[in-house]
Amino acid sequence: MIEVEGLSITSAAGPILRDVRLHVAAGERLGVVGESGSGKTLLAMSLMGMVPDGLHVTGSIRIDGAEMGGADEAAWRRLRARRVAMIFQEPMSALNPLRRVGDTVAEPLIRHLGLSPRAARDKALALFEETGILGPERRLSQYPHQLSGGQRQRVLIALALACDPELLIADEPTTALDANVALRITRLLVRLARERRMGLLFISHDLAAVSRTTERLMVMYGGDVVETGATAEVLRAPAHPYTVGLLAARPSLAAHGKRRLPTIPGSVPPPQELPRGCRFSGRCGQEIARCADERPQPVATAPGSWAACHLLRARAKGAGA
Amino acid sequence: MRERRLSPNLIIGAVLVALVCGVALLSVVWTPHPYAVIDVGGKFAPASAEHWLGTDQLGRDLVSQLMVAAGNSMMVALLAVGVGCVLGTAFGLLAAARGGWTEEAIMRVSDLGFAFPALLFAIMLAAAYGPSLSVVVVAIAFINIPIFARVSRAAANQVWHREYVYAARAAGMGRFAISRDHILPNIAAPVIVQATIEFAVSILTEAALSYLGLGAQPPAPSWGRMLSEAQTLMYLAPQLAIWPGLCIFTAVLGFGLLGDGLRDMTDPRLIRERRA
């Protein structure tokens, strides 16, 4: 339903997204994990046709069969909200503080779907009920500041669902929320994807949130997808050295008690200083000669899973010979 | 990488201000004619190579008078805004640093100041001490104090809640040292913007006071007084009113645009809107 092939985004300083490939089918939940500078937010923006000016986009984005690579703003505008919708990290700044939340949700219904104000209000109420907003009738006429952070995020989800999109992109939707609220929001997203047979692209730096929300997982580093596969599988047996390092560096509840954590040395370099070959070279403990200059190709690690690392290729060859 | 395009406001404002300031500075060392020399025989002379804009009712060279008046206006505005800015900002910093009843007292007194129009205050001063440019300076400076106190206190209160200020407090820094090292440099931008805008207001106030005869006294030229003297001659020699009027307009517009431009440039909210 959404298929991305060879998506690259280049700025004047160099490539910031390289050859991204992904697909999300109806009802499927894909997680995108990465640290700052991984390009995960830019990826989300490109799927909404909202890449900032001055960046050069190449590659194919097929949404519902329609090729959107190189499409103009008007074409994207027809798609947004109706086919692809998005929710953001900060539930407060995404709502107009001077408008009742019911009106905010009803507006796209009136404008895009041509509903009457009355019908739009009924639909907004139904959406509030569907997204588990408490006292939905009363909430319609309230202002954003009268709602808690979690309720606001639900309003934004209701707004995103207003025109029945086929793909929902959630960019760090739980980062600004408290733990128990975040738990409930991720459960809600899973339920909505199931019931509506809607694709979900869940972007987060929080491995715990991704693990309980998604079926498949994409790990990004420095603008490259370094590994992808079934979420549980990737987290259990990561193949790419970056994924291995990331999971090891994460404080674990299992090994309680004071202990030093394994670390990935250094930090993500700025885009123009990223190595040409494997983006992770320079920080990787198992680097070989070709890593810095030669870009590794994906190597299948399990059915439907792959990782892009020279070591895996060498290992696969060694096993085959 | 952040790109900051200069707004047209800012550029036009800066050019006008540079023009007025340049002329004012030039008048200190050079004018086409001595500005106060009276030549009754050559009164109401039209524009010529000798007198670029002609002469007034007493035969004085108009260009020379306008130039010296520009210097007077700038001087009055600079002194008045300078004093108001320094004292007002000091009060604002003190209010933010001390909080509690100190802040409350400073802000309530400021409110009182706001209730007083500069014109009324200047008329009172002039009645007591006689009209002069000094009276104008004192009156405008006094009115500026609460304005700067309010602007700087609001900005300073925000900076006091930044983490680096908490870090300085944790280090054991006193309130005075924190105000000097952290607060003042970080509120400079809004204060400077306010100063530019107040500069424009001061020029206008000075002109108004001189027009009423409370400011510059003869023979010291002032745009406001030139305007008021030309009033009775409107039909005879309208250019005598038009030129000082244009000068006031140029100076006020220049500083106003410069202030707006600077504010737009330093206001992150507006930057974000422009980039979106």
Binding site: E35, S36, D178, A179, N180, A182, L183, H205, L207, A208, S211, R212, A232, L235, R236, G245, L246, A249, R250, P251, S252, L253, A255, H256, G257, K258, R259, R260, L261, P262, T263, I264, S267, V268 | R162, E163, Y164, Y166, A167, A168, R169, A170, A171, G172, M173, G174, A177, D181, H182, P185, N186
Partner: protein, 260 residues
């Protein structure tokens, strides 16, 4: 009298905006009768969500605010009883690291200037440049970084700079308020390790405030779970994580766990 830091039944209330002209302003109790002690070389984790009162507690311990009831006793001295001059001297003993590595350094000041600030504040003589260089090396940066500005550093490096500033007076207590929350996972591990290294080298006591139980579990000896200003649960980290007695703690655990 035990412990380097003793917090004894502190309560802190805030006045909320008045709802009516004729009724007294409503009060919010941000921290209610919280007590704990912290010894040299130990790390106490305070876990809670926004509004739990954990940041208020940090401000009380740092002496930025005074409690409405109860006492904060550092090294035998009740902070609220100290004169301003004595308080300033006492500050040498306890320092703080903040959440936001972008906001905790003055953008207009060179890094060396910011790191030396506690030395100037304390009126300490000696070679500040040398002390700054030493502090920078202690946190894994280089001496020449002192001449640069904050924007030239990554988030993790800035947090190292903030830590250098905090340890330059050789404090005995470090309060870390969400000090790794804004950092990427791989950088977070580096900073946690750095804090543990400094603790070993300097014998620091650390009050580690966080919303993330997983982070707390890897750096703390004891943990205190707070909700709505009160202590809900406390104990050695291992006990609280394996045998939580409160539903709330279980929720926090679920939020931090990787799903299988």
């Amino acid at each position: 009298m035990s412990g380097l830091l003793a917090v004894e039944a502190v309560t802190r209330r805030y006045r909320l905006p008045r709802l009516s002209l004729f009724r007294p302003a409503p009060m919010l109790t941000a921290v209610r009768e919280v007590s704990f002690t912290l010894d040299t070389g130990q790390t106490l984790g305070i876990v809670g969500e926004s509004g739990s009162g954990k940041s208020t507690l940090a401000r009380l311990v740092m002496g930025f605010e005074a409690p409405d009831a109860g006492r904060v006793v550092f090294d035998g001295q009740d902070l609220a009883q100290l004169s301003p001059a004595a308080m300033r001297r006492a500050r040498r003993g306890f320092q703080m690291v903040f959440q936001d590595p972008f906001g905790s350094l003055d953008q207009r000041r060179r890094v060396g200037w910011s790191i030396a600030e506690p030395l100037r504040a304390q009126g300490l003589g000696g070679d500040h440049g040398r002390a700054v260089a030493q502090a920078l090396e202690q946190v894994g940066l280089r001496a020449e970084h002192a001449g640069r500005f904050p924007h030239e550093f990554s988030g993790g490096q800035r947090q190292r700079i903030a830590i250098a500033r905090a340890v330059i007076t050789r404090p005995r207590l470090l309060v870390a308020d969400e000090a790794v929350s804004a950092l990427d996972v791989s950088v977070q591990a580096q900073i946690l390790n750095l804090l543990m290294d400094l603790q070993d080298d300097l014998g620091l006591a650390i009050l580690f405030i966080s919303h993330d139980l997983a982070v707390v579990s890897s750096i703390c000896d004891h943990v205190l779970v707070m909700r709505e200003g009160q202590v809900l649960e406390r104990g050695p980290v291992g006990d609280v994580l394996t045998r939580p007695t409160q539903d709330y703690t279980r929720t926090l655990l679920a939020a931090a766990a990787l799903e299988d």
